[in-house]
Symmetry: C2
Subunit: 352 residues, 2 copies
Amino acid sequence: MLERRMSRHRPTESFLVGKIERVFGALGGRSLSRGKVAPGNRLALGIGDDAALFRPLPGSETILTCDWFLEGTHFLRDKHPADSVGWKCLARATSDIAAMGGTPRCFLLSLAIPEWATGAWLDGFLRGLRRAAQRFECVLAGGDTTRAEHILIHVAVIGEVDKRRALRRRGARAGDLLFVSGRLGEAERGWQIVRKQRGMADRRDQRLQKHLYPQPRLALAAWLARKRLATAAMDLSDGLSSDLPRLCAASGVGARIDATKLPLVVIAAPRQAETQKLPRQRDEALELALHGGDEYELLFTVPRRKELKIPPSFAGVPLLSIGEITRSRRIVVVGQNSRPQALKPGGWDPFR
Amino acid sequence: MLERRMSRHRPTESFLVGKIERVFGALGGRSLSRGKVAPGNRLALGIGDDAALFRPLPGSETILTCDWFLEGTHFLRDKHPADSVGWKCLARATSDIAAMGGTPRCFLLSLAIPEWATGAWLDGFLRGLRRAAQRFECVLAGGDTTRAEHILIHVAVIGEVDKRRALRRRGARAGDLLFVSGRLGEAERGWQIVRKQRGMADRRDQRLQKHLYPQPRLALAAWLARKRLATAAMDLSDGLSSDLPRLCAASGVGARIDATKLPLVVIAAPRQAETQKLPRQRDEALELALHGGDEYELLFTVPRRKELKIPPSFAGVPLLSIGEITRSRRIVVVGQNSRPQALKPGGWDPFR
């Protein structure tokens, strides 16, 4: 646990834990024991003992998920601002809670960092993490700290969902409509821009917001679960072409995507003289929508008879039907004037 | 989650997840959904969706804890057998559940490994981990896998304890007796031997068992919690001299340890001609008992009126009263013929 390695003889780690506790003081699990219970804070005991204690809501199931966030694999020290690293490591893991239709409750932060990162970098990281924790109403319950040559981050998030209401991957049936939230490819497009640019990404660049500060679709997913509108759901972390096959495999079905219905990213506003570039830009946007990873949008299936219950947008996020579930196990894309093409996984993979 | 990065285009990771699933098939969370519920297995959904679902026992609090286990910091690739790494990474985190008087339920395994480790090393690791999971009755619920240059392991364990029965650090009162389980210094002594030897530690060497395969004191701690015998408790992970001050600080008390009562390790059976070495060996054993880390024994305090309820041993593990809690906040050691000496933290610290 966070406090474990702290002692008078351990200046660096003690400093590190002290800093985390100061930043999270108002949010951390201590609040309950002091009688100031934050809404939704179900921690009976936070940082400072051997483990944290969480009080489950009667009638709920507990959702457990975790994610690595490693320097060099999931972020680059010289490209990604520290506060984006802080935000994104929690947002990513919290997106799995959304994928189940749940509500995040608390998280365990495990941090292993080199000496150089204990100053400005750590401040920025904790600032981003705290902002995400406040936004997602997810309190810090504990964790573990140690040192390492590179920055290693691990986040485990604990959430809750009403018993037997969790959105799973395996409920999709032939004929169900396939929906997606948001616009696909924006995060990947942001990453392309960051990769090409020199130095640190500009935190205010609008085109990079989804890459740097992704938003798990918590409210939408919780609403779908509560209203029993979705037969299956998952979050898009590796890209539609990698994730849709998983949902289909879990449900024992296939899918047909209508490429003309995909919510594409607008790559650039072409000048009048450059309209001949439009088709290429469309192809690029389509590629991004099909294969772009790191989106954290919600992919879900809805029985046809409930189609009209899905609004065109939810809390400002567009919802679009992009195809349907088929009995045949194939996953195909149909375009405007083209024959159906098989969809091949092309998303993000750390081992590639 | 474990399954997330798996696809046809990802041979290494898919292979890795497949291997983990095969090894944990009988133990993993799938059993419940198939109608075969293992005793204590409260998983409603395990590996293969966006997150795991855990059904909390009514009237229980959920215990959350996690630990790093990193190559170079917590274990050495050329010294520690892979199956010991597998056992110990789960034993360490599970010891925090014991420290709270709880029962382990399930765990999240996050593994980042280089290509070289996907063969024999992974097999050995999973064998040790599986053995520990069976022993502690703790099922694999999920996790995350990726690649890394060095072996990175992170384990989060979820446990349960009856509401308001958790053993905490802060309940010790002046006059309480200080107890410890087992023999102190054995793990550290094992590590000394491994360090001095060339090559891989001998898995069968009796002197190394506690260093390679530590045993969290789950049954003892759960009994203390159930019977309300302990006012405070914690596990000894960094050594008595580092951990006792934490218990005392949390309780706002001090402690006096009687060095003559410490359960010391037997360093070697001296030959008759070498009896002059005995005092030096005793000093060494005392050092190990006070400062040796990685023991995972239970340190707990008992009100004097309940002293006789503590048996001399529990499930084969000796229980010894080694001192008492004092009103003065100092932590001192008294010896056979010596004046009280202040106890200074000297346990393990990754930043030192």
